[in-house]
């Protein structure tokens, strides 16, 4: 009742305060009872938490009542349990009643009380944790025990020692997560057996009265369990090495030491001896090693080496290791590696690498002989190139690229059984690029010049291609006779032409011997002229054309064509072609005369031959009129042969054969072309051939080459020496046909000799550019160009063109006595 009054009064007060208005101060907030606890069921305490104090100092009072009573008591002791607490001592504690506790906070303005808390003492019993936990370990017979001891929680009231607590212990190894909890009972000590050797354990205890809750866990205690102690494991001998074949060292690897400090000893015995020695030196070579110095090293004996590990628990021996020092030699890497760049003869640099054997190895006495090996790679490369060098201490390297960086290393090994040393430290090589500025400039100039030249050449080629071609490969000129007018020929007035030319005095008379006249005699039943030739300024390009005169076709010294030629062409112009007219009657001349004339002309010719640049006119030696002016000049023949040979043509020139003299194979002085010309023309014109055949007298059966069907070409009319040299051949007048001075439709100018057939037949190609109506006296089996092309061996007749003045003008060639064009033969 009173409580209710009080609480209602508080409410009114609060309301009044809020009605009045808050001035920042108000009645306190509601406190809250946190906990009530009893340590031993005889006393208990309660703690509360104050609420907001409302800005003013608060006073706290605790009121309690027992559930069976109405009376409200106030807390007997505010101090013992600390601030905001209430301690109920023995007298005020009744374990069998339920207390209802409230706390009231009061300040100047008002008060506030907490919610009531029902407290049953028995249910809030929780002792303090035990104290004085102590741990001990004990190891016996390799088993460790943990001995834990503690004290019960202290109580304020020492008299109540009769409380019996139940204890619980928990432990775990430090690293682990889970606790192992052991119920201890009522003792204050405990022994743990199942422990991990070598682990560190954490131990805690807690207690409980028979009613209530367990206390908190005590503070942690830690303890280290000692490791198990075992004898050591077996060590192993790793390797034994001798760096210089005088001493050696052995290394071993210890195994687990069983938790105790272990000692190692190395023992050895030698082959054939029983005695066991101990390692003389454990220190020099480092830990876990044994160094045998010179005194203790014997060669060619096998050592039996073992290592023993000892600790408190026992010892263990490694497996024996047998070693003969001779075979375990592993030297140090070579030292003093030096590089030297030298220049060889042709200015290429090469590298000389030198090194020294390692310092310890005694190479000088021959006791240890080392072999070396290099390895090399470009800096960015992956693969090493290994070079075995042998026993020399230097190496010349030629194969390095200038400008590149290389890495080089060397190692060595004894020459007998042994081991390779470690690789020496890396050595970098860089060969300077031998790059002289001068060279570069030269190259630049060369490049620029050549490109300029190429440009110019190509430009010229483009512009004047045609002319260049003509220049390089001039066509075979047709015979151009001075004074012969092509037009006249075309019109067919050969008589006029001939007369216009003033053919006379042909063949050349003997007083013209000094004129070197060489001529070919195309021999057939009628005289046939043969040999278009085009003289070009070169040696041995002599064409012999027989000059014919009106009557006989003999060449004539007086022929205007000859002399001026000789005079004019003092420079290197080709000699005029001379056609030689072989007349039947001339053929009758004996061989001897020929020969003389041959020789004579030869003599004259010879100097010409020797002069390459001068123009020599080979004038055919004048033949007596009766003589067929066929001369074969051996020299010229040689020349012909040479030139013809080079053109892969049957080089023996066309046969000039006399029907009487079957010296049928006088080499005819064919047109000796300029080598190039002839070659090219003959080669080029193979398909388009007109054969000019020297036709032997029909009576001469031994002339297989003569084809009676062939159109015979009597003579070379003219050789034009202008830019388009052509040879106009005078067609032979065949018997039975009288087409003298008829000008066939197509007078051909033959500009090319295509081949020489059968050693005596010169195959000419017509001038394809100018198609003159042939002035032939023969049926001209001329094929058109097209047909000629189709027929390789077809005989065509060459038209004989009569020279004319106009022609002469046009041709510009200076030979060919017009008289030679007389169709005369027979």
């Amino acid at each position: 009742m009173k409580l209710r009054l009080i609480s209602s009064a508080q409410i009114i007060l609060q309301l009044a305060l809020t009605a009045v208005g808050l001035t920042g101060q108000s009645y306190p907030g509601k406190p809250q009872i946190i906990r009530c606890r009893s340590l031993e069921k005889e006393t208990f305490s309660c703690w509360w938490k104050p609420g907001s104090d409302g800005g003013l100092p608060n006073n706290y009072t605790l009121f309690y009542s027992k559930d069976s009573e109405e009376k409200i008591y106030e807390c007997p002791d505010y101090l013992t349990s600390g601030p905001n607490s209430c301690y109920f001592d023995k007298n005020h504690t009744n374990p069998w009643t339920t207390y209802i506790i409230t706390v009231m906070a009061t300040n100047e303005i008002g008060s506030n009380s907490s919610d009531p808390q029902h407290v049953d003492v028995t249910s809030i019993v929780q002792p303090d944790a035990p104290v004085n936990l102590s741990l001990e370990t004990n190891t016996s017979a390799n088993v460790s025990y943990l001995w834990a001891k503690w004290s019960p929680p202290p109580l304020a009231d020492a008299s109540s020692n009769s409380h019996v607590y139940h204890y619980e212990l928990r432990l775990k190894p430090e690293e682990k997560e889970e606790w192992e909890t052991v119920s201890v009972g009522m003792q204050t000590h405990y022994e743990v057996t199942s422990l991990q050797a070598g682990a560190k354990y954490i131990v805690q205890v807690r207690c409980m009265l028979d009613l209530g809750e367990w206390s908190e866990w005590s503070l942690e205690r830690r303890i280290q369990i000692p490791k198990e102690q075992l004898p050591p494991e077996k060590p192993t001998i790793v390797k034994c090495r001798s760096p210089e074949k005088e001493t050696f060292t052995c290394w071993w690897k210890p195994a687990s030491d069983g938790g105790l400090s272990t000692n190692h000893t190395l023992l050895y015995s030698k082959e054939g001896e029983e005695k066991v020695y101990e390692c003389p030196d454990y220190k020099t070579a480092g830990p876990n090693s044994c160094y045998f110095d010179k005194k203790h090293t014997s060669f060619w004996t096998i050592y039996n080496i073992t290592v023993r590990a000892t600790n408190e628990m026992g010892s263990n021996v490694s497996d024996p290791h047998y070693v003969d020092v001779t075979y375990i030699v592993q030297p140090d890497p070579p030292v003093n590696i030096t590089l030297e760049l030298k220049k060889s003869i042709n200015r290429k640099p090469y590298l000389v690498l030198t090194w020294s054997p390692p310092p310890l190895a005694d190479v000088r006495s021959g006791w240890l002989t080392l072999e070396y090996e290099l390895r090399l790679k470009p800096e960015e490369g992956d693969e090493w190139e290994t070079i075995f060098v042998g026993q020399q201490t230097q190496c010349k390297m030629f194969s390095l690229n200038p400008g590149k960086r290389y890495i080089v290393q060397i190692h060595c090994k004894p020459d007998h059984h042994g081991l390779w040393s470690e690789w020496s430290p890396e050595m970098y090589i860089e060969i300077p690029t031998d790059f002289r500025v001068k060279d570069m400039v030269v190259w630049i100039i060369v490049g620029v010049l050549s490109s300029l030249i190429c440009l110019i050449m190509s430009w010229i080629m483009i512009l004047k291609g045609y002319r260049m071609m003509a220049f390089i490969l001039p066509p075979v000129p047709g015979p151009k006779i001075k004074g012969i007018d092509t037009h006249l020929l075309e019109t067919g007035k050969s008589e006029e032409l001939l007369s216009a030319l003033g053919c006379h005095g042909f063949p050349p008379t003997s007083d013209c011997e000094e004129l070197l006249i060489e001529y070919l005699e195309v021999e057939a039943s009628e005289d046939q002229q043969l040999m278009p030739s085009h003289d070009t300024p070169s040696k041995n390009t002599k064409i012999i054309l027989k000059e014919t005169d009106n009557d006989s076709g003999r060449g004539s010294c007086d022929s205007p064509s000859l002399l001026p030629v000789k005079c004019r062409e003092s420079r290197s112009l080709p000699s005029p072609l001379q056609t030689q007219d072989v007349k039947a009657k001339e053929k009758k001349r004996g061989k001897g005369s020929w020969e003389t004339q041959c020789t004579a002309s030869e003599q004259k010719i010879l100097p010409c031959n020797s002069e390459s640049t001068k123009s020599c006119t080979w004038l055919a030696a004048q033949l007596p009129s009766s003589q067929p002016a066929m001369f074969a000049y051996h020299s010229t023949v040689e020349a012909f042969k040479i030139t013809l040979n080079t053109t892969n043509v049957n080089s023996s020139p066309v046969l000039v054969g006399n029907e009487e003299n079957h010296q049928s194979l006088y080499p005819i002085a064919e047109t000796v072309y300029d080598d190039i010309e002839k070659k090219s023309e003959m080669e080029n014109s193979k398909t388009d051939q007109t054969t000019a055949q020297v036709r032997q007298n029909q009576r001469n059966d031994k002339s297989p080459f003569l084809n009676p069907k062939l159109m015979d070409y009597v003579e070379v009319h003219k050789v034009r020496q202008d830019e388009e040299p052509t040879l106009l051949l005078k067609q032979k007048e065949s018997s039975g046909k009288s087409k003298k001075c008829t000008v066939p439709g197509t007078s051909k100018e033959y500009t090319k000799v295509s081949t020489v057939v059968d050693h005596h037949i010169l195959v000419l190609l017509p001038d394809q550019r100018t198609q003159h109506p042939p002035v032939s006296q023969e049926p001209v089996a001329e094929t058109s160009q097209n047909s000629q092309q189709s027929q390789t061996e077809k005989n065509t007749s060459y038209s004989m063109t009569t020279p004319s003045d106009s022609r002469r003008d046009t041709s510009g060639s200076d030979y060919m006595d017009p008289s030679s064009f007389m169709p005369s033969f027979k």
Binding site: E246, G272, K294, T301, V363, R364, S365, G366, W367
Partner: protein, 137 residues
């Protein structure tokens, strides 16, 4: 090894201390001691034909080389083999050596031969560097 009875220097210093002639004699003694066992071995392996052909030829080659080496050393040192034989027999080891050699197993034989040839090589090299001008070694 049948040559184990021979007193040979076991280290560099000992080998260098020995005078030249004695060293040469040692070398020749060693080579001589192997002459017979090698021929026996050759006969043995020829008959047994177990090894591949190139091993056989190698073995033959080795025997020949040993003989040649012996001859070469003799020539170069100017020693007549008679004296050597005299020395060998005077030591009374001739018979026992060959007997022992016959008793060896194959692997022992090879092992001993390898070792002795290494010895011979080392001694010869020391001799060479002693005799020859400085820059050779």
């Amino acid at each position: 090894c049948h040559t184990s009875g021979m007193l040979t220097p076991n280290g560099k210093e000992y080998a260098q201390k020995i005078p030249r002639e004695e060293l040469t004699h040692l070398i020749l003694k060693l080579l001589q001691a192997w002459k017979e066992p090698l021929s026996h071995f050759n006969q043995y392996i020829e008959h047994h034909q177990e090894l591949p052909d190139d091993s056989l030829s190698k073995a033959k080659q080795i025997s020949n080389m040993v003989l040649e080496l012996k001859t070469g050393v003799e020539k170069s040192m100017g020693i007549i083999s008679n004296t050597l034989n005299g020395m060998a027999s005077s030591e009374g080891t001739g018979l026992s050596i060959s007997n022992e050699a016959n008793m060896m197993s194959d692997s022992d034989f090879i092992h001993c031969f390898r070792r002795d040839s290494n010895k011979v090589q080392s001694y010869l090299k020391i001799l060479k560097c002693r005799i020859m001008p400085e820059n050779i070694c």
